[in-house]
Amino acid sequence: MALNRLTVSMSPHDYGHDSVKKIMLWVVIAMLPAFIVSAVFFGLDAIRVNLIAIAACVFFEWLIQKIFFKGKSTVGDLSAVVTGMLLAFNVPSNLPWWIIIIGALVSIGIAKMSFGGLGNNPFNPALVGRVFLLISFPVQMTSWPKVQVMNFALTDAQTGATPLAIVKEGIKNGQSFGDIMSNMPVSYSDMFMGQMGGSLGEISALALLVGGLILLIRKIITWHIPVSMLASVAIFTGVLHLINPAAYADPAFHLLTGGMMLGAIFMATDMVTSPMTPKGQIIFGVGIGIITVLIRVWGAYPEGVSFAILIMNALVPLINNWTKPKRFGEIIKK
């Protein structure tokens, strides 16, 4: 062997086997249970929305990279696929194709690539896309098809309100929470399984929890953000419900409806836009929980998870500064 063939580099000379691509692939795998449930309840429409969103996200990432960044394409890291899927999960299944593509352009173009691509975006791209669409196309974004089990016909399904909207409307009209719930077409167990109106991927708490378990086992997320977020929602709404059971929905209702589970497990835990230390992650989770309840109970929108996550995203650099890890051997000044 020739001497000049030896590689000389700095230690370490051994590397772990995880990569960005593997992490993204596992996130996609973890989303599959929720994807399957959405296909079961919303039919081919769910698959249509997912495919359009993923294709558009990947295409825009490739295009913007090609035009502005030059260099090697980054679509291979699969992060655009994750963004596309999350965007699809956050919209109704009957959304027209051109609105989905606008959402993908905002997600990838504005929320991600304009900051420098993967890892540099302060806000969760899929949520920026969703909120942009919600504000721009309020009618299309809030007409929720009713779930029909295993209906694979591409017919115009009936639409109806989500449980969150029904309760919000009812309480505003002076009905008590108990009365509203007794007329509710879906029970808590239906909600847990996913048989309720809502965005495509948010309906089944069960499927999302299975996905969360996969992420936890693969060590892609830690428990801190989901648990602190869900716990703070449960405590906050629990206290409100105890004070006045007629005017405030109970914690189980809040946890099972809307984007709570999707937000807690897949959106708030996005590595790029969440704090670095466990302590910071708990602050982050609690912040999201509180803001969500504030919006749901007193805000104009029935749902507040997306806004809450985006607001807390903005605070992440500050949280990181507040929650420095205690260094080994650091002497605390008294």
Partner: protein, 444 residues
């Protein structure tokens, strides 16, 4: 109960391929190249010249200061030259080159295999012998042992901790030494206890070496009730001095401090053996156990090699350099140094020679940081490598200091774990170097 340090750490594949291979004595080569700086601190000053007749164990160079160490010849023969030669770091430094003739040792050295157990009653005598024998920390850093053995005024060292962790993957030299020389090691530990006045000694061994834990416990019981063998959970970098103290005694060495600040002295298990040989056998440190290993190495071995032997000779014993070798590392895969040339010599701190295949030598493809925070999670010093990297990227050298960059022990856990393949430790080293430059220029 298995102990470990609480925060950070990784668990790379252990790959202890040379495990259980008994230590084979390697004959002296034709020529040896003995560097005069095999330790931290000032280089030793040569006391021999070209043409001198030399015996194995004879002094070649005197310590060049308090933090320095004597260098002895590992062979008998004639000094061919005293000149600058490249060592394993790739830099040229003063070396004594000896053409080997026969294998004659200085007569004072006890070459028998008899076990000596008489512990001198005077600590100064032990310390003097350690200094005379040129013993340095044999785990890799090479800090002169007699300096650590000199407890500063106003400090006490109640605890001696023996680092037998061998947390680096692949390496087995310490493990094999413990299996074969347990009595000598325990006596060496007692000698060091005596030298620093430590009431207790703890031998930290990771749980992937249950045979060594059992064996050393048995032997230790024979000699002293003050030597505890402590099993530790397998976690890299447990062999780091500060991590080991935290794991064994739950004490935290303050930032910028030394183990003595928490009443501890840490020594490598190989050093304990060298102390035994120096004090009771009059043998200076001129040979050591080296693991020669690697995934495609034909015959991974543990060799007892003379200091100054070219590493190519050791690799030949292990079956030669495999076709697919791309990198040769002096030490383990996590903290070892890649060498540029196979003619570099074995030194007092060469615990292993690792041959890395082309496939493993490739660094992973680099992506953008995805802020997964794993680097911060695995950092045993609780630093934030991603933040340090960002600061280095924009040359904010002075801002690195309040982020404790100088506490970095360069274990490489951050680079190892980064899913984006970012060589975080390279950035941190660059930051440390530039910050140190600024601090030095401020002082002067």
């Amino acid at each position: 109960m298995l102990k470990t340090f609480p925060k950070g750490g990784v668990h790379p594949a252990e790959n202890k391929l040379s495990k259980g291979k008994s230590i084979t004595r390697l004959d002296p080569p034709k020529t040896v190249v003995i560097p005069l700086s095999q330790h931290l601190g000032a280089p030793a000053q040569a006391v021999v010249a070209k043409g001198d007749q030399i015996l194995a164990g004879q002094l070649l160079a005197k310590a060049g200061g308090f933090v320095s160490a004597n260098i002895h010849s590992s062979v008998s023969g004639v000094v061919a030259k005293v000149d600058k030669m490249p060592d394993s770091s790739g830099y040229r430094q003063m070396c004594v080159v000896i053409d080997v003739k026969g294998d004659d040792w200085v007569p004072q050295i006890d070459r028998s295999n008899d076990l000596k157990t008489g512990i001198p009653s005077n600590p100064d005598e032990i310390r003097a012998k350690i200094a005379e024998a040129g013993i340095v920390g044999m785990g890799g850093a090479g800090f002169p042992t007699h300096v650590k053995m000199s407890v500063p005024q106003g400090k006490t060292a109640n605890n001696l901790i023996i680092n037998a962790v061998e947390c680096e993957p692949y390496l087995t030299s310490d493990h094999q030494l413990m299996m074969e020389k347990a009595d000598e090691i325990i006596i060496g530990v007692m000698l060091m206890q005596k030298a620093i006045g430590a009431g207790k000694a703890y031998i930290g061994i990771e749980n992937n070496k249950p045979d060594a834990i059992a064996h050393l416990s048995d032997i230790a019981k024979k000699y002293s009730s003050d030597i505890m063998v402590q099993g530790l959970k397998v976690k890299y970098p447990q062999g780091g001095e500060k991590q080991l103290i935290k794991a064994v005694l739950k004490r935290e060495v303050p930032s910028g401090g030394l183990p003595i600040d928490v009443g501890c002295v840490v020594q490598n298990v190989g050093t304990a053996f060298a102390v035994y040989e120096a004090v009771l056998k009059n043998k200076p440190l001129f040979e050591r156990v080296v693991s020669v290993t690697g995934k495609s190495v034909k015959n991974p071995v543990n060799l007892l090699a003379r200091i100054g032997t070219p590493i190519s000779e050791l690799i030949d014993v292990a079956g030669g350099v495999p076709e697919d070798t791309a990198k040769v590392v002096n030490g383990g895969p996590m903290m070892g140094k890649a060498v540029a040339d196979l003619s570099v010599p074995v030194t007092k701190t060469t615990s292993g020679i690792l041959l890395i295949t082309e496939k493993e030598a490739l660094r992973p493809e680099m992506f953008n940081c995805i802020r997964c925070s794993r680097c911060a999670g695995v950092c045993p010093m609780s630093l934030e490598p991603y933040l340090l990297k960002n600061m280095v990227n924009v040359s904010r050298w002075e801002d690195l200091q309040p982020e404790h960059v100088l506490d970095c022990i360069e274990c490489g856990s951050c680079s190892y774990t980064c899913p984006a393949g970012i060589p975080l430790l390279d950035y941190i080293r660059l930051g440390k170097a530039n910050l140190n430059k600024i601090l030095r220029s401020r002082k002067s």
